[in-house]
Symmetry: none
Subunit: 209 residues, 4 copies
DNA sequence: CATGAATGAGTCTTCATTCAT
DNA sequence: AATGAATGAAGACTCATTCAT
């Protein structure tokens, strides 16, 4: 499904507000006011507030699919390179679309919208399948350990990144980096996260120190 | 602050419903109905729905403090043993109070209630400080590596456990363990999580393979 | 089901407004304003506007049942007397509860509320059955004709009374009776209707001139 | 006023929907969707929803006038024949345009649209005048009784037919005629109604048995 | 001539809270 | 101390209508 400019504008406004205040905590009037449109437009374009949320998912997840799949199909990369790229891809995506990932966390906690829950689950299943494939490939090539719990491994990646994103202000304060410009801090954080998770994955996947 | 039996009953009902439906998604009437009390009682006992949430935090976090602090003060344990116990303590706590931790995640996403946000932040700061102390102790004893990012390490622990708790149904399905009784599966999951995170922490803290 | 004073007050206000403006044409705010109560009270007492309508039916139809059944069971009356009393009962009821009967007509035209439609149908079926019994009794006693279409006969009674009630202003004007006091005109109209329908029923039921 | 093909198409769609769901229960969007036209067309062609309703009346009542008047002017028919033809005309008209008559009932119940109310009243007055003339003619010829309440008589005709039309499904069921094809049942019903009302009118108008 | 986009008023309902008892 | 009744504000949504194209 395609969205026109106005729809995307509404979706992005909603994305920000949902992330800041939660789905229930955001009224359609809030969204309309912020987006500079009439309240009725939301029903007009999406049918309902719920459907607007689903449209948001469709827009964001739709783009995600393409990037992940193409990465893993690349034959010129070694399994380790692929895993590392997967990590960096994930960090980039989450840090770039922080709002969306905050919403995602909120939605998954409360099982309210079944359509979204199912969609999110599908993404998770697909990702796990792809990564499993990748791990198996590495195992066959003798690079990875025999016993790897893919789900727990992914939970560590996703969990660590989420947790870090959500508490980054606190992290900044703790490390006395409040004065660093936002952009630079984000770069720094992403680099640290990348190294951190790659270290963890090495411990999980290989026998090296 | 002390809570009487009726208040605790209300808090625990609210805890369950907040976890299931989110804060905004739960009405005081829902809570009153489930708890078998009058709607007005909530305002009467707690002042407001918001204050009820704060009371919930007070009750749960108050109990937490005692357990964590005493553990780390124990002089008879080695730094590694303490870290391992910290991990198991955390896993136990989260798995036992899943409802509460779900709420916590939801609350931290949306910055709505400043009182709770501040309280949660205090807990995090205190925990980080204590763990920092512990790490420093291990470093001085030459057991731990010099450079350890405590926050990222804790983010990995907290993030991995949260992520695993929230998607445990999916994990179960993925591993064909739907037939195992709930209690047994939880034990199994906790054991796996424990080993998993201890492995990660070893990689972060030590130089061994 | 029993209704308290406030509920009855709301129901009666709604009855009047529904009759004047139709169900869809009456907003809950209209009802609340006229009844001097808060809008929320309607949901509070009845659940919804629809349910308020159902309550109105319950209140009115509930009272009707008793009067009709007792009348027809009376052993001391001849079939003709019973038929005549049935006619007068119906005229009285409709003229006294004009609002309610207007609503009934409106509801039956649009098949919107299935609960009410079913209830109304049940009343009709029950009435037809009772009257059929009565006619059969008269036929066995040789007073009534053999072939009588009970439904058409009842349709004539109900239709004539409805039609007359709904166009009484016009009837009054046509007969130059605008100056007669309301009460007196109603009496007159009821008497005329009574004689008119009894004449029709005699033609349907008996062989006399 | 003349209506073009598109306007008539819209009017007829509206007629059906108004009959099914009532005026307020039908949105202009419903009509537009069913008619396969743009929503704005209704305002464009008729000015407003209200005016569309008036156009519907104009269309239907306009056609009615011609048929009734010519019938009664025919000098070759006896008063009794004319009355009988009037009855059959009415039955035919109502059964053929059931939708329109349902709407008419609904509109007359709620006094909302004054323009339509007035138009409907005019029709009624004109009809009553014409029938009065007809009755007077019969009285002068010694065929009809001296004292006849024309309005009540017409109310009986109109009321009986309306009532029968609106509850025909129930009538069918009551008489175990659900298996008869629709068309045949309608013919049967019309014949029965015709005989029924003619019997009633004979009782009202003449002295015969 | 015809329409897709847009709007503001209005709909019913739910909510947390208060108050008299 | 505890509660049933009541309320005003706010919720999402639908509506008939308008306007620029």
């Amino acid at each position: 499904m395609e969205f026109n400019d106005k729809q995307i504008q509404i979706i992005e406004t909603a994305e920000r507000l949902f992330a800041e205040r939660g789905f229930d905590g955001t009224s359609v009037r809030d969204i309309a006011d912020e987006a500079g449109i009439n309240v009725a437009m939301i029903s007009y374009y999406f049918g309902s507030k719920e459907k607007l949320m689903e449209a948001l998912f469709e827009l964001r997840v739709g783009k995600m699919k393409i990037r992940v799949e193409s990465l893993l199909k690349d034959e010129s990369l070694s399994p380790i390179e692929k895993v590392n790229m997967l990590i960096d891809e994930h960090i980039d995506r989450v840090m770039q679309k922080q709002c969306f990932y905050k919403i995602m966390v909120g939605v998954l906690v409360t099982n309210k919208n079944p359509a979204i829950l199912k969609a999110a689950n599908n993404v998770k299943i697909r990702n796990a399948a792809v990564v499993s494939e990748l791990i198996k490939d590495g195992q066959e090539k003798g690079i990875f350990k025999k016993k790897v719990d893919v789900i727990l491994m992914l939970n560590t990646m996703v969990g660590t990144v989420s947790q870090t994103m959500m508490s980054q202000d606190y992290y900044r304060e703790f490390n006395d980096q409040v004065d660093i410009p936002d952009e630079e801090f984000e770069k720094l954080l992403k680099r640290k996260l990348s190294i951190h998770i790659k270290t963890l994955f090495k411990a999980i996947l290989t026998n090296e120190a």
